[in-house]
């Protein structure tokens, strides 16, 4: 079994701090700030974010097989229950970006508790803050630009429909290697 964080407390705090920055400033590419070895096909940033956020009370969905080494590793260290239903998940990890599917199939929360919703984590082939996706909204001074390598424009378009159902919605974190960028539900994303 591969070890998780070197220090549960300090590493998860460090990653959480970086994650806060990323969510507070959508479109800002953030390094996870710690070294982590995690099993294939997980990127270190995906592993770090999931080890930080998951626990036994957060149902977790993924397009990776439950029996795979990487998911067993995640479940071993976090105790998170695996769910086959996107609608039931509080966290979800997508690695097969050719088949991302419809983000509205995840749980958008309810008007009474919009916080009880899925946070979607997507592994990409690269992140760049100079792309054709224009981001506006809270936490962004004027506008930010983003390139998510391997993510189909159509996915961003479906997401912009989801954006209209605020305060419901799915928060997204895009990952590449050690870095991540967040698109919370409050951020408007348009493909130029």
């Amino acid at each position: 079994m591969i070890k998780g964080f070197n220090s549960d407390v300090f590493d998860s705090q460090a990653v959480f701090r970086r994650l806060l920055t990323a969510v507070a400033c959508p479109g800002t590419i953030v390094d996870i700030g710690i070294d982590l070895i995690c099993p294939e096909p997980l990127h270190p940033a995906a592993g770090a974010v999931l080890l930080t956020l998951l626990d036994f009370e957060t149902p977790f969905w993924s397009d990776i097989e439950n029996a795979s080494v990487s998911l067993q590793w995640l479940r071993f260290h976090t105790g998170a229950p695996y769910t086959r239903l996107k609608q039931h998940s509080l966290f979800a990890l997508c690695t097969d970006i050719e088949n991302l599917g419809d983000p509205s199939l995840f749980n958008p929360g309810t008007v009474e508790s919009p916080d009880i919703s899925t946070t979607l984590i997507v592994q990409t082939k690269g992140l760049d803050d100079t792309g054709r996706i224009r981001l506006t909204g809270p936490g962004i001074k004027k506008q930010n630009f983003l390139k998510l390598e391997g993510i189909d424009d159509n996915f961003i378009k479906i997401r912009s429909e989801l954006y209209l159902s605020y305060p419901l919605g799915v928060d997204m974190i895009f990952i590449y290697d050690r870095t991540l960028v967040a698109l919370p539900r409050t951020t408007k994303a348009e493909v130029l």
Binding site: M1, K3, G4, D8, F76, H77
Partner: protein, 145 residues
């Protein structure tokens, strides 16, 4: 008789840590192990059932410490103890790992485990004896026929 792993995990977790320390000294040989999780202190939510048999509810939490370590790169040992004694959790995990190792299993089953079982039984016996001493014997006066 074959002992189940869950039985020795409990014996190790409820043991006096001093007994585990001295058993470790007795082992003499160098045990190689790597900590995979912890030792860390956290909580378990203790649940019960309404009316003893109905819907579940939470009474409150209890402090527990746990540790998972890998002995000789092969055996995953788990230790769960009540309270916040991290060293105890670590020792419990280590012995759980060693008990899975055929090189150690038989000897520990013959030395450490019976010692812990005996202590456990003594503890229970005192409680039960004390309680049964306070059992009420009613005397009823017979009236009429």
């Amino acid at each position: 008789m074959q002992m189940k792993r869950e039985s020795w995990i409990w014996l190790l977790g409820s043991a006096d840590p001093a007994d585990l320390e001295s058993a470790l000294e007795e082992l003499k040989d160098h045990c190689e192990f790597v900590c995979i999780v912890g030792p860390e202190t956290g909580m378990l939510m203790v649940q019960a059932k309404a009316d003893g048999s109905g819907s579940r509810f939470n009474i409150g939490e209890m402090t527990v410490s746990k540790c998972i370590l890998e002995v000789k790169g092969k055996y995953l040992g788990t230790g769960w103890v009540m309270g916040s004694d991290l060293r105890h959790a670590e020792l419990a995990a280590l012995f759980d790992g060693l008990l899975q190792d055929p090189d150690h299993h038989d000897r520990l089953m013959a030395t450490l485990i019976p010692r812990l079982e005996e202590k456990q039984r003594l503890k229970t016996d005192i409680l039960l004896k004390d309680a049964s001493d306070t059992k009420v014997e009613f005397f009823t006066l017979k009236r009429g026929e």
